[in-house]
């Protein structure tokens, strides 16, 4: 009964990094559907992810509780987290570069970051 839950062992460490990575603030339920009221911001985010995925972009979303390894892998993200704590999150990373902190991006912001990075 003393063992810890081996979350670190389950992380798919070798998967190629996604083009768009979103690091969430700690939350009970990332869908926005749980809880006494719906969270439209999170529903908007889910919709954006589906749109981007439909364009064959790889999008990953990380929870601090269930994907701590993803945070720890990214030194810049961890630096921000340690400095600004809650204010830093959510953090959006496009092609390994931080593009937005403290709020979720719009789809246009993500698109322009993707285009900028491609050039």
């Amino acid at each position: 009964m003393e063992q810890t839950i081996p979350i670190f062992d389950h992380m798919p460490a070798q998967t190629p990094a996604a083009e768009v990575e979103i690091f969430d603030p700690p939350m009970c339920c990332p869908t926005g559907l749980c809880g006494p009221t719906l969270d439209q911001t999170l529903l908007d985010l889910n919709e954006m992810i589906l749109t981007l995925q439909a364009e064959n972009l790889r999008v990953a979303r990380y929870q601090m509780t269930s994907h701590p390894q993803a945070f720890l892998r990214n030194a810049e993200v961890m630096k921000l987290v340690r400095e600004k704590q809650m204010d830093a999150l959510p953090i959006t990373v496009v092609h390994d570069k931080i593009m937005k902190t403290g709020a979720y991006p719009t789809i246009d912001e993500v698109r322009s970051a993707l285009n900028g990075a491609a050039k």
Binding site: T4, P26, L33, T37, T41
Partner: protein
């Protein structure tokens, strides 16, 4: 018998006593035996007369016997500790704290209690810690079924989550992959007839039979096959020398015949005892009666307490009737003690006084329609035959469906694309949605305008407490919600205001009353007392107590009935002493309550008279 034995059945039928009787018997045969309860209102400690708690504890005086009470709160704390250990090392403490707070929601509590429960079905073999027999004294039926349904539902949502958007409502279950295999193994073990037996304890009564049939039906859908029945509380020949008990025995015979024809499983009867079962000696005695067919050697004699506490001068009707504002009544207590009957009597009485009354149940195993003698649906509807009375049964599954439809309709209206709506629909197929939807309904009716009285026939104790504590929990959750859009913040404010209103109402004796229902017996009193204390912690005090199945003094005519009546008198005095609030007695009747007329008559006898200091 198999290695794993589950005791199931409506609360109050003697499930724990029978589970303990089996445990003591197996331990006596030299089998290393563990009895585990997953009931949030466990009374194993009362039956064994020793503290047990949230760890495997050896039982004094019974070699080979061990017991454990799974405390859902403790299980949740342990689960969070285990899940958070790696994060504590890696992240700033402020964030760890937020994560921990957010893991303290009701979803995590469900996951954690279930997680603990499956640990015992998934024990490593051939170790020093293994047991020959593990007996589960499970939670009351409605809750039990939900608990046992979870593996199937979760396996499903975990599968979908791993192929779908990668998100799932069981987010707090950090070790999803690990947990999935554990839950699947647990369910596999429950399905094997050579490893697991489900023993249903029931009374020879309509409601108990119906409940057992329903419960077995649900389990059969989960491919569980190995059932046995124990029919408890059969009045012995010496008990039937009295007219009231003779009438009840007649009633029992009819129901025994019904059980024989409608429940084709191995079955065994257990006699109604003159006294009560407490302590190891008493369990051994019951074991000899049950397994070896000995007759009850003991007609217990109690010191007849002449100095029974005098009833204070009050009118029970003043406690339940609305004054200037509307009155909300909650009937709390262990499942099966008569909450439904007590709430029906009260609601019928209020309606007959002319108050526009809404009678509601939130118990998935409720039998409101049976007692009223009319069908009750999941939306409030007038009760035929009694003006001013409306009734509804909040079925968590139906509520979840409605909730889902409403949320998806809202999403469409906001112009979300079908692909997003499809994902939302999948996410909403989770056990948490049911919990949330039932709660949403509870709030809706607790704050609904237009009623002079609202009567809640609440769910069995553990579940009730969780449901009633939810408003408080959710307000806390909203306080820690860190990121919210303007839109969400506004919605949260409205929600918070509604919760605040409900909590305020529950705490205010001018607006509401909590009635604790119990049998005048040791264990039910202790359970009700614990439940009252837990509610006291959130600022809610009991308004009255209801004692059910009280043998009328004029019926105590034979040694058997006198012994039972004396036992009751002792406990009626104890109830008054402990709770220090007015007591409403419901008499033991020669037949079951299942019509408006009977309810009206009983209401008149309870609320229609002024109790005067003697």
């Amino acid at each position: 018998m198999t290695q794993f034995i589950f005791f199931s059945g409506k609360g109050g039928v003697g499930k724990t006593s029978m589970a303990c009787t089996y445990a003591v018997r197996y331990a006596g045969e030299g089998k290393r035996t563990l009895i585990v309860t997953t009931d949030p209102a466990s009374n194993l400690a009362d039956v064994f007369e020793q503290p047990i708690g949230h760890r495997i504890t050896s039982i004094a005086g019974v070699p080979n016997l061990f017991a454990m009470e799974i405390d859902p709160d403790q299980a949740t704390r342990e689960y969070i500790d285990r899940a958070m250990a790696p994060h504590r090392a890696a992240f700033p403490s402020q964030m760890v704290q937020v994560m921990e707070e957010q893991m303290s929601g009701p979803c995590t509590a469900e996951v954690a209690a279930f997680d603990r429960f499956t640990d015992f079905l998934d024990l490593p073999v051939d170790t020093d810690t293994s047991f020959d027999v593990i007996i589960f004294d499970t939670a009351p039926t409605g809750h039990t079924i939900r608990l046992l349904e979870l593996p199937a539902e979760w396996s499903q949502s975990i599968n979908e989550a791993s192929t779908g958007s990668g998100q799932t409502c069981i987010g707090p279950a950090a070790a999803i992959q690990d947990a999935r295999h554990k839950y699947e193994r647990a369910l596999a073990v429950m399905r094997l007839s050579d490893q697991t037996t489900f023993i249903f304890v029931l009374h020879p009564e309509a409601i108990s039979i119906k409940e057992t049939r329903r419960a077995i039906g649900e389990l059969t859908k989960l491919d569980i096959a190995n059932y046995r029945l124990i029919i408890n509380g059969i009045i012995p020949p010496e008990g039937a020398e009295n007219p009231l008990f003779a009438a009840r025995l007649e009633m029992q015979r009819r129901y025994l015949a019904e059980i024989e024809s409608s429940l084709p499983y191995p079955k065994q009867c257990m006699t109604l005892l003159a006294g009560e079962i407490r302590g190891v000696q008493s369990l051994r005695r019951v074991g000899r009666m049950f397994f070896d067919g000995e007759s009850d050697p003991q007609v217990e004699t109690f010191q007849a307490e002449q100095a029974v506490a005098k009833p204070p001068s009050y009118r029970l009707s003043d406690l339940v009737a609305p004054n200037s504002q509307r009155c909300t009544l909650f009937f709390a207590g262990k499942g099966g003690v008569g909450k439904t009957v007590a709430s029906c009597i009260t609601a019928v009485w209020l309606a007959r006084q002319g108050y526009k009354t809404l009678l509601l149940t939130t118990d998935p195993a409720a039998h409101l329609g049976d007692v009223l003698g009319v069908p009750v649906g999941d939306e409030p509807a007038p009760v035929p035959g009694l003006e001013s009375l409306w009734a509804a049964k909040i079925d968590p599954k139906a509520a979840a469906e409605t909730y889902k439809v409403r949320i998806l309709a809202d999403a469409r209206q906001r112009g979300r694309p079908e692909s997003a709506i499809k994902v939302m629909a999948e996410e909403l197929d989770s056990p948490c949605t049911e919990e949330m939807a039932a709660f949403d309904k509870f709030i809706e009716y607790a704050t609904q305008e237009g009623w002079q009285a609202v009567v809640f026939d609440t769910a069995p104790t553990g579940h009730t407490l969780r449901l009633l504590e939810l408003p408080v929990d959710w307000s806390k959750q909203i306080d820690v919600k860190v990121f919210a859009s303007i839109d969400t913040a506004a919605a949260d404010d409205v929600a918070k205001q509604r919760f605040g209103q409900v909590i305020e109402m529950m705490r205010d004796p001018q607006q509401s009353a909590f009635a604790f229902v119990m049998y005048p017996e040791a264990t039910p009193i202790l359970e009700a007392w614990r439940a009252a204390q837990e509610l006291g912690a959130v600022g809610i005090r009991p308004g009255l107590v209801v004692a059910n199945m009280v043998i009328p003094a004029e019926q105590a005519t034979t040694p058997f009935t006198q012994s039972r009546r004396q036992m009751q008198e002792k406990y009626l005095a104890e109830i008054t002493e402990r709770f220090k609030v007015p007591l409403a007695p419901i008499p033991l009747l020669p037949k079951e309550i299942k019509s408006l007329e009977m309810l009206a008559e009983l209401g008149e006898s309870i609320y229609g008279v002024k109790m005067v200091r003697g």
